[in-house]
């Protein structure tokens, strides 16, 4: 799996946020569109695209998109 593809999958979840403003170091919880319900879309995307179980603590303990990617990557391999 690639970081670029993960960021694209993540970016696709947003309706209103400009994709160009999202990169690996983006602190996703600070995005205007982010909410606890939005987190469910991220968990669903990770299940669908990577077949990885993602828990609430994984979201809570992550700050950047790269942090999410690293957790997913560690469970895919």
């Amino acid at each position: 799996m690639s970081l670029e593809q993960f960021i694209e999958n993540f970016t696709d979840l947003f309706d209103e946020t400009d994709p160009d403003t999202i990169c690996a170091t983006t602190r996703f919880k600070e995005l205007e569109e982010w909410s606890s319900l939005f987190a469910l879309s991220v968990i669903a995307m990770i299940d669908e695209e990577y077949n990885v179980e993602f828990r609430g603590d994984d979201i809570r303990n992550s700050t950047t998109i790269k942090d999410l990617y690293d957790i997913v990557k560690s469970r895919v391999e």
């Binding site: 909410s35 606890s36 987190a39 879309s41 968990i43 299940d47 669908e48 179980e53 828990r55 609430g56």
Partner: protein, 349 residues
């Protein structure tokens, strides 16, 4: 793995009763920023919910549903051999509420009664118990009453739980008859005990301090006698277990998703159910939803959905799958051939 198959027993009739008081999620401005309310409603799919008055309990709602079922189908109280009450919001800690319902419904003293307590998956587990009793010699009819009043155990300033939960009571009559096979597959994972929990009880004794409201995670307010739910962990649990459990049930019973006439989910939230529909590739018109009107009514949600959405539609023979999941963690699914099931429409208390 608990895989159970029954022959010659089935659901003869079903009914439901909800409180008449409606609360609207659009009025949650005190809890959720105004600009997020619309999006929250569209995500969880809940416009309104029914909330029981302080002096109305789950057993009251079930009582009224049971009366309706007995009237609509001319069921004599003496013909009921077993009464099961499934709830986590029983009238008292002692005695079992099913005993009070035996008296109230005028069932004979020969009636076998007991309560079952389980989370949102409870209806399926209780239904399998009802089917088991109805399969035994000496038992002809089982009345299963499943009701919840989560409004009494959710804090109104808990933004995870309060927008979701509604109250309802249901009645299901199970009996011996010319029914086809019914298969249940039921699962448990107690390692997830902290995902959904009321802290105070016997393990953590109730003291005056248990009633003190405190600010918890992310500004949610609750006391130790009210429900905590980790929404993200529940979601992760449900999406990883529910579609798989349905696929395995179909495989084990030599069916495909196209054989299913109706797939009735526990009405947890709209976003989650839409995800299951997509994942299972089932046509959405076979998946009834009543969540926009009633919210998540915990274990009552499966029979409430049948009463609300399938009344008059279960004449003849239909292949129905029911799927539910919740605290425990606990989950499961059943597939049955329903035959001329008399479904009374939802009534108000």
């Amino acid at each position: 793995m608990a895989k159970i198959t029954f022959h010659g027993v089935g659901i003869k009739a079903l009914s439901a009763c909800v409180p008449s008081e409606i609360v609207y999620n659009k009025d949650l401005g005190y809890l959720i920023p105004e600009e997020e309310i619309e999006k929250t409603i569209s995500n969880i799919g809940i416009e309104q919910r029914r909330i029981a008055a302080p002096d109305v309990t789950a057993s009251d709602l079930c009582f009224k549903a049971a009366r309706r079922l007995m009237e609509d189908n001319q069921i004599a109280p003496e013909s009921i051999d077993v009464l099961l009450f499934m709830s986590q919001t029983a009238d008292y800690r002692i005695p079992a509420t099913s005993c009070l319902l035996q008296q109230r419904l005028g069932l004979p003293r020969e009636t076998l009664c007991f309560d079952i307590s389980l989370g949102c998956s409870g209806y399926l587990f209780a239904l399998s118990t009802a089917f088991a009793y109805a399969s035994m010699q000496g038992i002809n009819r089982v009345l299963l009453l499943d009701g919840e009043t989560f409004s009494k155990i959710v804090n109104r300033r808990d933004k995870v739980d309060w927008p979701l939960y509604g109250d309802a009571g249901t009645a299901t009559l199970i009996e011996k008859g010319d029914y086809g096979d019914s298969t249940f597959m039921l699962y448990t994972d107690g390692s997830g005990e902290n995902t959904l929990k009321i802290h105070a009880g016997m393990r953590n004794p109730i003291t005056p301090d248990s009633c003190v409201e405190r600010e918890q995670e992310e500004g949610n307010i609750r006391n130790d006698l009210e429900v905590f739910m980790d929404g993200m962990d529940v979601f992760n649990f449900a999406i990883s277990k529910v579609p798989k459990s349905i696929k395995l049930l179909l495989k084990e019973t030599d069916k495909t998703i196209d054989d299913v006439d109706y797939l009735v989910f526990h009405q947890a939230n709209r976003f989650m159910m839409d995800f299951f529909v997509k994942k299972l590739k089932i046509s959405p018109d076979r998946v009834p939803y009543c969540i926009s009107k009633y919210g998540n009514t915990s274990s009552a949600s499966v029979p409430l959905t049948v009463s609300s959405e399938l009344s008059g539609q279960l004449d003849g023979s239909h292949t129905v799958v029911m799927s539910a999941f919740g605290a425990g963690l606990s989950w499961g699914a059943t597939i049955m051939q329903m035959r001329d099931c008399k479904v009374s429409p939802v009534i108000e208390y």
